[in-house]
C-alpha cells in the first residue's frame, strides 16, 4: 500500500534506504564541522553514520496515515467524554490529584522534549538518525497537545488544573521535572539522547504510560487512558531510538564506553528520582490500584532494565551506579514522598490526604517489610493531630537537593530512620543533596548545577520577600481551592453532589 513501486517490488528495508537514507549527501561548500557544529564536543567518536539503524523505517506517507488513525480515535473518545460528563465516571475525586500533577509536571516536559528532538533532527549528521529524531519531535508536540486537550474538560469542573502553565515555571515541585528536562536540553546531542531516549523513554515512560494508565482505566478515566496509550504507541518508536543510540555509540568506538557509562549512571538516577512522583501517584492517588509502584518497577524497571543491561554487557556496560540504592529505596520512596506532599499541602495545586484504613491495609500488603513498621505510625500520628484540631503542617520547605530539586526528605539507603543529607563545598558555597547519586552528579558538573533555579530561595527574595500570600498569587495558586487536604475540599463536595445528581432522581 504505502510507497509500493511497480517496477520491482521493493521490500521495506530497500524502500526505506532509497526513500530516506539516500536523501543525504556529503556537503562540499562548507565543511562538516560547520554544518554540524555540536556533534564532537562531548567526545563521542563516530566513524560511520550509515551504521545507524532505525528498525521502524517509517516513511512520511505511512506516518501520516497511521498517526491520523490514532488521532481520529483519540479525539472521538475525548469528545464523547466531554459531552457525556465522563469525568463523573471516575472512581473518586481523589484521583484528580494524579491528573493535576500530570498536567503541571509531565505535559510541559513532553513539549520540551519535542523542541529538543527538533534540534537533534538537525544536529546529527546522519539521515537515519535525523529522521527518527524529527518524528519523535513531532510526536512529542502531539503528546503535549493530546494531554492538554484530554485534561481541558477536567479543568472546566475541578480546581488545580487552571494554572498549569504558570506552575511549570514557578511552582516548587515543578522544578523537579523542569530541572530534569532543562538538564537534558542544555546537554550535548548524544547526552540528550541518553537523557530522553534512554532514561525518560525507556525507563520512565513505560512506568508512566503502562501501569499508570492501566490504573487510569481501572479508575474509570477513559480520557486519560486514551491519551496515555495513544502516546505510548509512539513511545515504542522512541524507546527503540534511545536503545539504538546507545548501541550505536558503543559500537562506533571503544573510547565511547566510559562516556556512555557516565551518562547512564547520571540519567538513571535522575530518572529514578523523577519517577518518585509517578510512584506516589500510583501508590497513593489511584483510588483503585492495578499494581503497586514496587510491582510496576519490578516489571518495567528491574526486569526490563535488567534485560537491557545484561544485553549491553557485551560492550562493557555495567548496571548504573545507583542501581543498588534504587533497589533499597523501592520500599520507601513513595511513602516518604506522599508524607512530604501532605505536610506541604498548603503549597500544592492539588490535594493530598491521610490514607484511609482501606488504603493503609493495601499499602501494608504491598509493602510488607516497611509500611507498618515505618509509615503507618506516621500517618496515625498525623491523623491524631488532625482529629485533635491541630493538623500537621510544615510551613517552610526542607532544604532542596541542588541536583534533583526535591526537598531532602529521603532516608539513608541502609537506615530508614535517618534522613539522608549530603553537603558539598564549592567555591565557598555549601550545596545540599538528597543522596549520593545526586551528589555525584553535581560533582561531575558543578558549574552546571550551581546555576539551578531553586524555588525556595526565590520565595525569600524580592519581590516576594517570604510573603506566602504574594507567593501564592505569583504561582497562581487559589488558596482554599487548589491546595490543602482533599477532605472538605471543593472538588470533593462538587464531585459528590454531581454524582448524586446523576445517580438519583432528585
Amino acid at each position: 500500500m504505502d510507497m509500493t513501486v511497480a517496477k520491482k517490488k521493493l521490500g521495506l528495508k530497500e524502500k526505506y534506504k532509497l526513500l530516506t537514507r539516500d536523501l543525504g549527501w556529503e556537503p562540499t561548500y562548507h565543511n562538516k564541522d560547520e554544518v554540524f557544529p555540536y556533534v564532537k564536543y562531548e567526545g563521542i567518536k563516530v566513524h560511520d553514520w550509515e551504521k545507524w539503524e532505525d528498525p521502524f523505517r517509517l516513511t512520511m506517507d505511512a506516518y501520516w496515515k497511521y498517526q491520523a488513525e490514532k488521532e481520529r480515535k483519540f479525539y472521538a473518545i475525548i469528545d464523547a467524554h466531554a459531552q457525556n460528563n465522563g469525568h463523573l465516571n471516575i472512581t473518586d475525586a481523589r484521583y484528580l490529584s494524579a491528573l493535576k500533577i500530570f498536567l503541571q509536571a509531565i505535559s510541559p516536559g513532553e513539549y520540551c522534549a519535542g523542541k529538543g528532538f527538533a534540534r537533534m533532527g538537525r544536529e546529527f549528521p546522519g539521515v537515519g538518525t535525523q529522521v527518527a529524531c524529527q518524528m519523535q519531535a513531532i510526536d512529542e508536540i502531539r503528546h503535549a497537545q493530546t494531554q492538554i486537550h484530554a485534561l481541558s474538560n477536567y479543568n472546566k469542573f475541578y480546581n488545580g488544573f487552571h494554572a498549569f502553565a504558570d506552575a511549570r515555571d514557578r511552582m516548587w515541585y515543578c522544578t523537579l521535572p523542569r530541572s530534569f528536562f532543562d538538564d537534558a536540553m542544555s546537554a550535548g546531542p548524544f547526552e540528550f539522547m541518553i537523557a530522553i531516549g534512554f532514561s525518560f523513554e525507556y525507563v520512565l515512560t513505560n512506568l508512566l504510560f503502562v501501569p499508570f494508565m492501566s490504573g487510569a482505566a481501572y479508575n474509570g478515566d477513559m480520557a486519560t487512558v486514551t491519551f496515555g496509550f495513544s502516546a505510548q504507541s509512539d513511545e515504542a518508536r522512541h524507546m527503540t531510538l534511545g536503545l539504538e543510540c546507545i548501541k550505536f555509540m558503543l559500537e562506533q568506538d571503544p573510547d565511547n564506553l566510559p562516556i556512555v557509562q557516565n551518562w547512564i549512571d547520571k540519567w538513571f538516577w535522575r530518572g529514578f528520582r523523577l519517577l518518585g512522583v509517578v510512584g506516589t501517584m500510583m501508590d497513593y492517588m489511584l483510588p483503585k490500584r492495578v499494581m503497586s509502584w514496587r510491582e510496576a518497577f519490578e516489571i518495567y524497571g528491574i526486569e526490563n532494565g535488567g534485560a537491557l543491561f545484561k544485553d549491553l554487557a557485551r560492550y562493557g556496560i555495567r548496571p548504573p551506579k545507583g542501581w543498588d540504592d534504587a533497589g533499597k529505596a523501592l520500599d520507601h520512596m513513595t511513602h516518604q514522598f506522599m508524607l512530604a506532599l501532605y505536610q506541604y499541602q498548603f503549597g500544592t495545586a492539588f490535594h493530598s490526604w491521610i490514607p484511609s484504613e482501606e488504603d493503609m491495609a493495601w499499602l501494608s500488603k504491598k509493602y510488607p517489610t516497611t509500611f507498618d513498621k515505618y509509615y503507618r505510625p506516621r500517618w496515625e500520628h498525623i491523623k491524631k493531630l488532625k482529629e485533635a484540631g491541630t493538623p500537621y503542617a510544615n510551613m517552610g520547605l526542607a532544604k532542596l537537593c541542588q541536583t534533583c530539586q526535591i526537598p531532602t526528605v529521603f532516608t539513608e539507603p541502609d537506615d530508614p530512620t535517618t534522613l539522608c543529607h549530603r553537603e558539598v563545598e564549592y567555591k565557598g558555597e555549601t550545596y545540599h543533596f538528597c543522596s549520593d547519586g545526586c551528589q555525584h552528579i553535581f560533582e561531575k558538573e558543578p558549574e552546571k548545577y550551581i546555576q539551578g533555579w531553586l524555588p525556595l530561595a526565590a520565595i525569600f527574595q524580592a519581590p516576594l520577600n517570604g510573603d506566602l500570600g504574594a507567593w501564592m498569587e505569583w504561582v497562581s495558586l487559589a488558596d482554599g481551592k487548589d491546595n490543602g487536604d482533599f477532605a472538605g475540599s471543593e472538588d470533593q463536595r462538587n464531585f459528590e453532589a454531581w454524582r448524586n445528581q446523576a445517580t438519583s432522581n432528585q
Binding site: K8, L19, C112, A118, Q130, Q145, K156, W453, W498
Partner: protein
C-alpha cells in the same frame, strides 16, 4: 458501574486555563489555542546550554528579529498536531491514488521519451533540495521561539521530507534506481545543479532561525515551486504529452498553495511589528531571492530552454509583488 451521565446538567466552574483567559478573555478556548499558546517554558530556566553558553535554553535573541510577543505569529490554518496530521493523511490518500493510477495503467511507459528524460533531470535531484529544506525547518523549530511558530515549522519539515520521498518515488517509477543514482550524481557534480546545492549548503550554516525561514521557505521555495511545478510540470510537460507527471506532483502544488498562506501571515506580522524587522526582511528576502532565482535558472533551462529567462523573470516579479503586499519591498 456505568451510569448514564449524559442527562446531568452541570455548570462549569471555569471556561479555560488561566494563560488563555489572560490572552483571549474568559471564554472557552479552541483546541488550537489550548495546544499552541504559552506551552514553552519562559521563566526560571535552570542551566545555560553547554553547546553554546551564550544562549539560553529557549532564547528569542538567537534571531535578529525582535517581537514583543512571538505568540503573535498565528497560523491561519490553525494547525496543531491533530488537524495537521488528519489533513496530510487525506492528501496522502490522493497522492497514493494518483501514483497507483499512473502505475496500474502503465502511463509512465507511455510518456514521450524526451519528456520523461526532462522530468527525471529536473525533478529527481530536487529530492536532495527537499531534504535540505527539511533540515532547515527542523532547525527553525529547534531554535525558533514560541510554540505557535515553531510547531508549524516542524510540520513544514515533515512535509519537506514527504516531498523528498514523493520525488524519490517519482524517480523510481520513471527511471528505477538508476534514475535516483543519476539524479544524485547530477546534484553532486553537474554544473546545472551546483548553484542550488551551494544555496542549500549555505543555508545549512545560517544559524539565525528567522533568516533561515526567509532563505528557505520564503525565497527558495517561493520561487522553486511556481517555476518547477507550475511552469515546468503543469505547463511545459503537460503541453508536451506528459500530463501524467502532474498527477505525481499534485501534492507539491497543493502543498505550496496551502503553506504559502501560513508563510505570508508570518511575514506580514513580523514586518508590521517594527521598521527594524521590516528592514531585515527586505535585506534577507532581497539577498536570498536574487540568489535563488539565479540558482534555479539553469535547472528550469533543462526544460524551458530559451524561455527560461523570461519564466524566471516573471516569477521573480510575481514574488516581489507577493512580498510587497505583505509590506516588504525588495
Amino acid at each position: 458501574m456505568q451510569i448514564d451521565l449524559r442527562t446531568v446538567s452541570i455548570k462549569p466552574q471555569r471556561n479555560t486555563f488561566d494563560h488563555l483567559a489572560r490572552r483571549f478573555g474568559d471564554k472557552p478556548a479552541s483546541r488550537y489555542q489550548e495546544g499552541s499558546y504559552d506551552i514553552q517554558a519562559t521563566e526560571n530556566l535552570h542551566y545555560r546550554p553547554t553547546w553554546d553558553p551564550d544562549q539560553q535554553i529557549y532564547d528569542a535573541s538567537i534571531t535578529k528579529i525582535v517581537m514583543k510577543d512571538w505568540y503573535a505569529l498565528k497560523d491561519p490554518r490553525q494547525y496543531y498536531y491533530n488537524t495537521y496530521t488528519v489533513a496530510r493523511a487525506r492528501q496522502q490518500e490522493t497522492a497514493e491514488a494518483n501514483f497507483s493510477f499512473v502505475e496500474s495503467r502503465g502511463l509512465a511507459d507511455m510518456l514521450p521519451a524526451e519528456m520523461k528524460e526532462i522530468a527525471l533531470r529536473v525533478l529527481v535531484p530536487l529530492r536532495h533540495a527537499a531534504w535540505g529544506a527539511n533540515m532547515n525547518n527542523s532547525f527553525i523549530c529547534g531554535y525558533g521561539y514560541a510554540a505557535i511558530f515553531t510547531q508549524a515549522c516542524m510540520f513544514h519539515a515533515m512535509d519537506n521530507l514527504g516531498i523528498a520521498q514523493y520525488l524519490s518515488r517519482l524517480g523510481l517509477l520513471l527511471g528505477d534506481t538508476e534514475g535516483l543514482n543519476e539524479g544524485k550524481q547530477a546534484w553532486l557534480e553537474s554544473d546545472v545543479w551546483q548553484p542550488l546545492r551551494r544555496y542549500v549548503e549555505d543555508c545549512l550554516v545560517v544559524r539565525d532561525p528567522f533568516e533561515l525561514f526567509v532563505a528557505q521557505n520564503v525565497a527558495l521555495d517561493g520561487l522553486l515551486y511556481p517555476l518547477v511545478y507550475g511552469r515546468v510540470v503543469d505547463g511545459f510537460l503537460s503541453a508536451n504529452g506528459a500530463s501524467s507527471i502532474a498527477m505525481l506532483t499534485q501534492f507539491m502544488n497543493d502543498w505550496f498553495g496551502e503553506t504559502q498562506k501560513w508563510i505570508d501571515a508570518v511575514l506580514k506580522t513580523v514586518a508590521a511589528e517594527s521598521e527594524d524587522n521590516r528592514a531585515l526582511l527586505r535585506e534577507w528576502a532581497g539577498k536570498w531571492g536574487a540568489r535563488a532565482a539565479a540558482a534555479l535558472l539553469p535547472i528550469v533551462q533543462q526544460a524551458l530552454e530559451g524561455n527560461a529567462d523570461e519564466a524566471v523573470g516573471e516569477e521573480m516579479a510575481a514574488f516581489k509583488a507577493r512580498l510587497a503586499k505583505l509590506g516588504i519591498e525588495i
